[in-house]
Amino acid sequence: MARKQFKVSRQMLFTWFMLTGFIFLISPQSLISQFHFAFARIFSWPLGVGRSISLSAQMPQSHAEQFKQAEARYQNHIANLEFELQEVQQKLEKLTQMRQRRPLEGAKLILSDIIMSNFDGTHNELIINRGFDDGLAVGQFVLGNNSVIGIVSEVSSRTARVKLITDGTSNMVVKVEGQKLVRLMQGVGNNRAKIGLVKAKINLGSKIFTEKKPGYLDSPMIIGSVTGCLKDDDNPLLWNIMVSPACEIERLTDVAIMIMNPND
C-alpha cells in the first residue's frame, strides 16, 4: 500500500514555527531555564573544553600572572580575616560576657566547575555543574579566589546559574572598608559595579565588603575594590563609586558555593 505523503504548505509551516516562537516567548522563565540547563548539562564536557581553549588562546598565562592571581587570592583572604577581626573586636567591646561564634564556623564550601560563562555587555553570568542535588539554593553566595563574585540565581538538579556582581540586574548590600557606610552596589556590566550617590569621595583602592546576610553569609567578605569616583551627572554634590571585582572572574575555572549551616 502506497504511503500517503503528508504535505504542508510553506505558509502554514512558517505560521506554525512563528507560533512556536511566540509560545516560547511567553513561557515562564523557570521552564525556559530548563532548556539552558539541559544544554549545559548534556554538553558540559565539550563546553568546558571549549572554554579552556578559549581562555588559553585569549590570554596565555605566564608564571608572573599565575603568581599575581595567587597573590590576589591571599590578599583577599587577608582582607577577609582583617575585617572579621575588626568585627569581632567591635562585638567583644560590646558583649564581653557573651560567647562569640566564629564567622563562617558553620559554613560548607562546595567546589564547582564552570561550564559556561557570559561576560557580554551587562549580562554577566556563569553556569556551574552543581545543583540542588548538591545542596545549592537560590541566594547562596558564590566565591572565587576567596572573594564574593556572585549569587546563585537559578538551580536545577545538577546545574545552577550564577548571577555575577557585575551583572546589570545584580544588587548587593556592601560596606566600604573603614567606614560604617552601608550601600547598595549595582552591577553595570563590563566587569564593573557601581555604588551610587555617596556623599564623600572614597579613596581609590579602598576595599569593598559584602554585608552579612543571615542564613547565607555570617560574616562580611571582600567583594572588590574602588577603581573610580565620578561626580553624579544629576547631582554634582554626590559621587558614584566604581568597583572592580577582587579577582579576575573571567579567568576562573572553578568557584566555591557557600552553604551556611548545612546540617540544619
Binding site: R10, M18, P46, S54, A57
Partner: protein, 166 residues
C-alpha cells in the same frame, strides 16, 4: 537535504558559539557563527528547508546565546525566510552580496531579538551597537570563508549559479 548532517553541523556550531568563539573575538567583538549558518541555508537550501532550518537555528541560538527562548526563533525564522524568498528573485552567489546578506540579516534579526528580549524584560547579552553593527559586521567578514566547510559537509556546490526553484 541530509538532515542528519545538518544536525551534526548545527550542534558543532552551537557548541563553538557557546564556548570557543571568545578565542577569536577582536576587542570584545565576536562573530555570530549561527548567523552565518542561517544565511548559508537560506541561500543554498530550497525554500521549505530554509524555513525549517531558520527556525531550528534560531532555537539553537536562543539556547546557546540568550537568557530566554523565543527572540532568536522569531528573528532568525522571519529574516531567514525573507532572505530565502529574496534569493528566489536575486541569486546571492557573489561573495560581496553574501557579505551584505549576512550583515543585513544580522542587523534586522538583531533588531527583532533586541525588541523581543526587551519585551520579556530580560537582560540582553550585548549592548545594542554590538548586536546591530559589530557582530553582524564581523560575521559578514568571516561568513563567506565559513561557507566553504559548510558546503563541503552538506555536499553543496558553492559555484552553482542559479536561483532557487520554488
Amino acid at each position: 537535504m541530509n538532515w542528519s548532517r545538518f544536525s551534526v553541523a548545527l550542534i558543532i556550531v552551537t557548541l563553538l558559539q557557546a564556548s570557543f568563539v571568545d578565542a577569536i573575538s577582536i576587542a570584545g567583538i565576536k562573530p555570530n557563527l549561527l548567523l552565518v549558518v542561517l544565511v548559508f541555508f537560506a541561500i543554498y537550501a530550497n525554500p521549505t528547508e530554509a524555513i525549517i532550518t531558520s527556525f531550528i537555528i534560531g532555537f539553537a541560538a536562543d539556547v546557546a546565546l540568550g537568557t530566554t527562548i523565543g527572540p532568536h526563533i522569531i528573528g532568525f525564522g522571519l529574516f531567514g525566510t525573507l532572505l530565502s524568498n529574496l534569493n528566489r528573485v536575486i541569486a546571492i552567489r557573489q561573495v560581496q552580496y553574501q557579505c551584505l546578506a549576512i550583515f543585513a540579516t544580522g542587523f534586522f534579526s538583531g533588531l527583532a531579538v533586541w525588541l523581543l528580549t526587551a519585551i520579556r524584560r530580560q537582560p540582553l547579552g550585548h549592548n545594542v551597537t554590538a548586536i546591530l553593527l559589530q557582530m553582524p559586521l564581523y560575521s559578514s567578514l568571516v561568513g563567506p570563508i565559513l561557507f566553504i566547510p559548510y558546503a563541503w559537509w552538506m555536499n553543496v556546490n558553492l559555484h552553482r549559479f542559479s536561483r532557487q526553484q520554488s
